[in-house]
């Protein structure tokens, strides 16, 4: 235990001042008196931890220094030699970071004053024991009362249902990428769930259905967050107490706990985010041995986890940005290192492109391939996709259908809107009511299949029946002038200068004429988007626009629902604005023409890249469609860090089993305070450095950890939080949790540093040690106690609501807005 903390500081001094590494290192170690604790048989926990860690890192960094001394100066880049060459161009902190635990665990044989072998082994064992303890505690809290409540909670109704869809192989649509739900489905399948439960609405009892497999899987991933945070912080700060504090904050946070216990995407997403972060940090610390096995391992693991994060939710994009930023700055340093040849830098670049771009993309695409392969039955998601896509799904009426490929005059067709959830061009024997345009037959769009969706394509100038066998088949071509006759009522699609019923700036579209005889307002020019004149028009594939010849407007649908006189179908208008929008693009779906040979729709099967692109378009549109309405209660991003309002997972009344997703306020407010404190402390240090102030060696070491390690975590927090301010879609409280993970880790590092700084400023070593240990212990015990207070939120409570003074939770309703 002797001399331990001072050695830590010495090591940091040495690394922080690369100009004279050998001279300062040992000298500083002996000069620094303040934290030089005399040996004591019964050391408090905090100091014990600090000491142990310090020793491991001093030997490690000395090793780096020694190696730097031994190596000949590198010139140019022989690939063989580059593997073990130290990175001389990089500044101090990176060498500090470069020291992995594997290095630390190794006995520091070259160290002149190495500690006894036994104590080193003891230390390593202690670290593992602590990790095991943290993991155990995390698993214990997450799996405790996992089976309660035995009914559907909150969004389990969606994600559980989607898991069942995978087991039943039914196609569905969701705004999130498929990986998370696939994993849930897999977990259910492996644990013997048969996919028969309906997951209709929150509160439904599971009864005999086996739901524990899916919940257990999510809880398992959720439990792993804590050890991940522990390892990440340990790697960033080289301080065991900081790691322990971060782990404690996450273990004892009721919010993380609640979110991990149910069948949701969030535990899976957070698992991948944290895993990506951990492997990124690990590979950063392998930076002194590029292209070694562990380096490759962590680098590719980062890529795999990135693919996972993106594959669960698009929020995974933020961790990709973080890793991307880290990689770019890393490459920038390498590039500035003149001892590395351009070829070596090129190899670094290639390795990163391979592992961080190509590999994740491949995996991400692979999840979609599996998704489309597994889900091959028609289901509730069909309508969201294009006709060509639906032809793939067994059970859909387009599956294995055979229709003529090219549109010809006389064909009976249905015309479908390309934009999802608009439906087919439709007309029926009802007139527009008095006062709304001309009193002619209504034209609408209708979502369901119906005889009234059928139209006949005719030439604009003849009324002869084109199906007469004496006429040759004539195909419709791009740019032709046509007439569309409604099959059931024999009226022509018609438009004129009257304002449309709902969208006043557009023209009204009606059905007009008797038995197909109308006027020149029935003529439409058919155009295929992005095609040249004279091309034939393909069923399903061609994206067509219908342009009204007289007024020059384009047939479109506004997506607005007509009042009762229009049977609540959607409005069809003719828009005078010629800009190409999805509102005015249609395609032909059904096509009946006895004179043409039928082809099987299998020919029209979209290729995999097309499917991939289409499903992304649909997902993005779906996401944008989730807009909050006026007068609706929505969660605002500024609510989140202050823990303003929770989410009710289950139960409302006092007799229900209630679970309430709310962060442990002690943890959350500490996090909030820490961020403010961090920004203050960080800018003070940065300005001091910029002013050229000479910091004492200890402070310099600590401030490096704070700026480098803490900076990464702060960046993570910002990336996972601020983009939500720009999002137009509806937001929920649980969106903050990835950011909360980062801020908890930051809190760990910050308080460890602050306590060490305070301890350093005290004159008496005894006082210093006491205050460090006391501070740390009070933080740990405080969070644990607050967890004890708030645990009913997560594990469920029955009885009177907290507004009621009789409730055991009555005193804990610290904010008016909490309602548990």
């Amino acid at each position: 235990m002797l001399c331990a903390t001072s050695r830590l500081l010495a090591a940091r001094t040495a690394t922080a001042l690369p100009a004279q590494p050998r001279g300062r290192g040992p000298g500083a170690r002996c000069r620094r008196r303040e934290l030089h604790f005399p040996g004591h048989p019964e050391v408090p926990l905090g100091e014990f931890l600090a000491g142990r860690l310090a020793r491991s890192s001093v030997s490690a960094s000395r090793r780096a220094i020694l190696r730097r001394g031994r190596m000949p100066p590198a010139v140019g880049g022989g690939p063989a030699g580059s593997e073990l060459r130290p990175r001389r161009g990089r500044c101090g902190p990176q060498v500090t970071r470069a020291v992995g635990p594997d290095v630390a665990a190794e006995p520091a044989a070259r160290s002149p004053k190495r500690p006894a072998r036994g104590s080193r082994r003891f230390e390593a064992a202690g670290r593992w024991a602590l990790l095991a303890l943290v993991t155990l505690l995390s698993f214990a809290t997450r799996f405790h009362r996992l089976d309660e409540p035995p009914h559907i909670c909150w969004d389990e109704t969606h994600f559980g249902k989607m898991g069942s869809y995978y087991i039943n192989r039914t196609f569905f649509f969701d705004v999130h990428p498929p990986l998370g739900k696939m994993l849930i489905g897999l977990a259910g399948y492996l644990s013997g769930y048969d996919g028969t439960f309906l997951f209709q609405k929150p509160g439904d009892k599971y009864e005999h259905h086996n739901y524990m497999g899916m919940r257990g899987f999510c809880a398992f991933l959720g439990s792993l967050l804590v050890p991940f945070a522990y390892l990440t912080v340990l790697e960033l700060s080289r301080s065991l107490p900081a790691a322990l504090l971060s782990a404690a904050l996450l273990t004892f946070d009721t919010g993380c706990l609640t979110l991990s216990q149910y069948i949701l995407l969030d535990p899976i997403l957070m698992f991948f985010i944290m895993a990506a972060m951990l492997s990124m940090v690990k590979y950063n610390s392998c930076a002194d041995r590029p292209f070694s096995a562990p380096w490759w391992f962590w680098l590719s693991l980062t890529g795999i986890n990135l693919a996972g994060a993106l594959g669960v939710k698009f929020v995974g994009l933020f961790i990709i940005l973080q890793v991307g930023w880290n990689t770019i700055s890393d490459l920038w340093h390498l590039f500035g290192d003149l001892s590395l040849s351009v070829v070596t830098v090129g190899k670094h670049l290639t390795a990163r492109v391979l592992c961080l771009i190509v590999l994740p993309l491949t995996l991400y695409t692979a999840t979609y391939a599996v998704h489309f392969m597994v889900l091959n039955k028609s289901g509730p998601g069909d309508g969201f996709f294009s006709s060509a896509f639906q032809a793939r799904l067994s059970g859909n009426n387009l599956h294995n259908a055979s229709i003529p490929e090219h549109l010809a005059y006389g064909s009976v067709i249905t015309v479908k809107k390309l934009r999802m959830a608009i439906g087919y061009l439709h007309s029926h024997r009802h007139l527009y009511p008095e006062g709304i345009g001309a009193r002619q037959q209504q034209v609408t769009t209708y979502l369901h299949k119906d005889y009234n969706n059928l139209w006949i394509i005719k030439k604009h100038n003849t009324n002869a029946d084109p199906l007469d066998p004496s006429f040759p088949v004539e195909f419709v071509r791009h740019g032709d002038i046509i007439r569309l006759e409604h099959k059931e009522t024999s009226r022509n699609l018609h438009s004129h200068y009257h304002e449309a019923p709902l969208t006043r700036k557009h023209y009204q579209v009606t059905g007009y004429g008797i038995n197909g005889t109308g006027d020149s307002n029935d003529f439409w020019r058919i155009e295929v988007v992005n095609r040249k004149f004279g091309n034939r028009i393909k069923v399903l594939r061609s994206r067509i626009r219908l342009i009204h010849l007289v007024t020059g407007c384009v047939l479109g649908s506004s997506g607005k629902v007509l009042p009762k006189w229009g049977w609540e179908q959607l409005e069809v208008t003719c828009t005078p604005y010629l800009k190409e929008t999805l509102n005015s693009i249609w395609n032909v779906e059904d096509h009946i023409n006895p004179k043409l040979p039928n082809i099987s729709l299998d020919v029209l099967h979209p290729t995999f890249p097309e499917i991939l692109l289409e499903s992304h378009m649909v997902m993005i549109r779906g996401n944008n469609g989730l807009k909050p309405k006026d007068n609706e209660f929505t969660s605002k991003p500024w609510h989140w860090p202050i823990n303003y309002q929770g989410l009710r997972f289950s139960g409302i009344n006092d007799t229900d089993f209630r679970v309430y997703l709310l962060g442990n306020p002690v943890v959350w407010w500490l996090n909030l305070l820490s961020i403010v404190l961090y920004v203050l402390l960080g800018s003070i240090i940065a300005i001091a450095v910029q002013r050229g102030a000479h910091l004492p060696a200890e402070v310099e070491g600590l401030s490096q950890v704070l700026l480098q390690g803490g900076g990464q975590l702060l960046l993570g927090w910002m990336l996972h939080y601020f983009p939500f301010f720009l999002m137009g879609r509806i937001l929920y409280f649980h969106h903050y949790f990835p950011a909360m993970l980062f801020s908890s880790m930051l809190t760990g590092i910050l308080w460890d540093t602050v306590l060490q700084l305070c301890a350093w400023s005290l004159a008496s070593p005894f006082l210093a040690r006491g205050m460090y240990a006391a501070g740390l212990l009070s933080l740990l015990l405080g969070t644990a106690y607050s967890f004890y207070l708030f645990h009913p939120l997560a594990y469920g409570m029955v009885g009177p609501l907290a507004q009621d003074p009789r409730s055991p939770m009555a005193g804990l309703r610290w904010l008016e807005s909490w309602d548990f």
């Binding site: 920038w332 209660f633 309602d819």
Partner: protein, 685 residues
């Protein structure tokens, strides 16, 4: 012509001193235009309703258009100055000025009564004065000149923001550059701590405090100028409306302040979306069975009605006492008191119960209680919860207090759901009782707008009293800050519903000039004005940006490997020019991709101006550093001259569309239609 219609109506409002609200920008720009009208003696009497309408003789068109034209003309010398201050040669500076001179789009925009050229003027002024300031920093800090340019930077920035919100991007850019310079200053160890602190404080004062004060000043002037009520009153809160002359103020003037038992009040919803409305009830009842088969209580409807009506009056009653008149002295209602609300015309009690509301089945129905003797007791007690109270015994005040009405039996809160009732409810807005536990929302908050003490005990007399206008005697005023904050907030949140326009375009079309805007067409001939850029300049400016970016990264990478192609001073100049010009283009262009409002080509002009400034920078750099031999240099010089004369030619060809001064034949017009996407209007004869 085109958007003159839009700005013109605001100028008229200024002239008539009528309050208005414009969500598109702060009032400074409108005020500047109105100043022109004021000087020209415009009386505001013109209907700005149709594009192409002839101005009547009382409209001083010349003086209204003077200011934009003046600022537009000043852009040319300012471009020259900026390039000089950036450290480039007179030749490059002249080039920049000449390019601005022949840019058709800038000319069109500056000749009309529009705000873009004013905005660009202030943008460039901010950049120019910052450069002047930064240059004088090297020579004599804290001199008079130094202070002058520093303050001018701040003022120009706030003017730019005051003209249009997009000015904020240039402001941020200047702040960022100033921040980087300040950071270098902190690192300068030759300066003492005190001196560094002085430098930082001076910058903070001039670049943060001064703009904020100026911005407040604009609003102060605006609110002093427009003090009469007008068509936009409805959007504002009752308190704000009461502070305007006429309108609501005439009614509320002299109302008693404190609501007492027996008071007759109208209750306005604070949230006011989708439309501002008042709590209302009428004789009709909820239908027994709704269309979807659910049942109702069949009691009297309670709705929210967006027009003033005698049915909006409610009487505050003490549940313990019978009389509906104010006792003498009045007993004020305080926070936490239990009250009943009696509908004035029907004398029924406001009531809610555990019946699903017509359109929001998760909330409770609110009705006026009708006793059908069906063992459904009335639940008409409400607890008053003053949201913006200062103490727990605060009195309920007219207009000022924002209150929630919490139902005693079910702890539901009276709330405007925002849905329109079907025909049986006369398309009025639905009012529901929402569980208190669902959290706070503005749609649950109401304030008393009209108020008087009830005097008549008899129903008949009371009806008469309700029909008669209110007459009372105290007046109140809002502080400037409160008015400013409310106005600013409403400006930022007001939504324009019209999302489609014939000439709207997407930001991607702008760079390549794939769109145009027809501003005006002569009523008889085919003379017309279009917003069309000089396509040679647009294309080469885009190219210059790309070349700059490529060269910048190339140099940056080479410097990282310690290969210095440029001398240090030259490199710094190159970076600063890029930061201001390319940066100015980026910050004024890229944010439009995130905006959801309707966008037009003229939104691109501020970005374009910065891009044009970059053009001579790149040209001079290529000539000085990349053309090694004199021969190459002279070839390059002649190419530049050829390119410039080409731009001049394009300018000349497009001139009729810019000035709209002569009529063109259809053939000529067709010849001018270089891109299919340009909407050049050709008359059919």
């Amino acid at each position: 012509i085109f958007d003159e219609v839009y700005y013109g109506q605001y100028i008229s409002f200024y002239m008539k001193r009528i309050f208005f609200l414009d969500g598109s920008g702060p009032p400074f720009g409108h005020m500047l235009l109105a100043l022109g009208g004021y000087l020209g003696g415009f009386d505001g009497n013109f209907l700005w309703n149709r594009i192409g309408a002839e101005y009547s003789s009382n409209v001083p068109v010349w003086s209204l258009r003077l200011l934009p034209a003046l600022t537009g003309a000043l852009l040319v010398p300012m471009a020259y100055q900026i390039l000089l201050e950036l450290g480039f040669s007179h030749c490059a500076a002249t080039g920049a000025a000449l390019l601005i001179l022949i840019e058709n789009a800038l000319i069109t925009q500056a000749r009309l009564m529009l705000l873009e050229s004013v905005l660009i003027f202030f943008n460039l002024l901010a950049v120019l004065s910052y450069l002047k300031f930064a240059n004088s920093q090297k020579q004599r800090p804290f001199s008079l000149r130094w202070w002058f340019w520093l303050t001018l930077t701040g003022m120009a920035c706030s003017c730019a923001v005051g003209v249009k919100y997009v000015g904020v991007f240039t402001y941020l850019l200047v702040l960022a550059v100033a921040g980087v310079h300040a950071w270098h200053l902190i690192g300068d160890r030759t300066l003492s701590h005190v001196r560094v602190l002085c430098h930082l404080l001076a910058r903070a004062a001039a670049l943060l405090v001064v703009p904020a004060l100026m911005y407040l000043l604009f609003f102060y002037v605006h609110l002093t100028l427009v003090c009469r009520s007008g068509p936009h009153d409805q959007i504002m809160s009752s308190a704000f409306q009461a502070s305007l002359e006429g309108g609501l103020a005439r009614i509320t003037q002299g109302q008693p302040l404190e609501v007492a038992y027996g008071s007759q009040v109208t209750l306005k919803n604070v949230f006011g979306k989708p439309v501002p409305c008042w709590l209302h009830s009428h004789q009709s009842t909820y239908p027994m069975i709704y269309e979807n088969g659910r049942g109702s209580s069949h009691q009297q409807q309670v709705t929210c009605y967006p027009f003033k009506d005698v049915n909006n009056w409610w009487i505050v009653k003490d549940p313990g006492r019978h009389p509906l008149v104010v006792s003498n002295p009045p007993r004020p209602v305080r926070h936490g008191d239990i009250v009943q609300l009696v509908h004035g015309m029907t004398t029924r009690f406001l009531n809610t119960h555990d019946v699903a509301a017509p359109l929001s089945p998760h909330s409770q129905e609110v009705s006026c209680y009708v006793d059908y003797n069906i063992s459904m007791p009335s639940q008409n007690l409400w607890r008053l919860d003053i949201v913006n109270r200062e103490s727990d015994t605060e009195v309920w005040k007219t207009i000022l207090s924002e209150v929630r009405l919490v139902h005693v039996n079910t702890s539901a809160v009276l709330k405007l759901s925002g849905a329109h009732l079907p025909d049986w409810g006369f398309r009025q807005l639905e009012v529901v009782g929402e569980k208190l536990s669902r959290g706070y929302h503005e749609s649950m908050v109401w304030n008393v707008e009209e108020h008087r003490y009830g005097k008549s005990q008899e129903q008949k007399e009371r009806e008469l009293e309700l029909h008669s206008p209110a007459q009372m005697d105290v007046s109140r005023n809002l502080s400037f800050m409160a008015r400013f904050l409310e106005l600013q907030w409403r400006m930022l949140t007001v939504k324009s519903d019209d999302s489609e326009h014939k000439y709207s375009s997407s930001p991607l079309d702008w760079v390549t000039l794939d769109t145009s805007i027809a501003y005006w067409l002569h009523p008889r001939t085919s003379a017309q004005i279009h917003l069309l850029g000089n396509i040679v300049i647009w294309a080469s400016a885009g190219l210059a940006t790309a070349v700059y970016a490529l060269l910048f990264f190339w140099y940056l990478l080479r410097r990282r490997r310690c290969i210095r192609d440029l001398p240090e001073g030259c490199w710094l100049r190159w970076v600063l020019a890029g930061a201001l010009c390319a940066g100015g283009w980026a910050v004024n262009y890229l944010p439009f991709f995130l905006m959801e409002k309707t966008l037009f080509l003229y939104h691109y002009l501020p970005a374009l101006t910065f891009q044009i400034l970059l053009l001579p920078v790149v040209l001079q750099h290529v000539a000085d550093h990349l053309c090694r031999s004199p021969l190459l240099r002279s070839v390059f010089g002649s190419l530049v001259v050829a390119w410039y004369s080409c731009a001049c030619h394009v300018f000349n060809t497009l001139r009729p569309l810019t000035y709209g001064d002569r009529s063109l034949s259809p053939g000529e017009l067709r010849a001018l239609r270089w891109k299919d996407t340009w909407d050049i209007l050709i008359r059919k004869y």
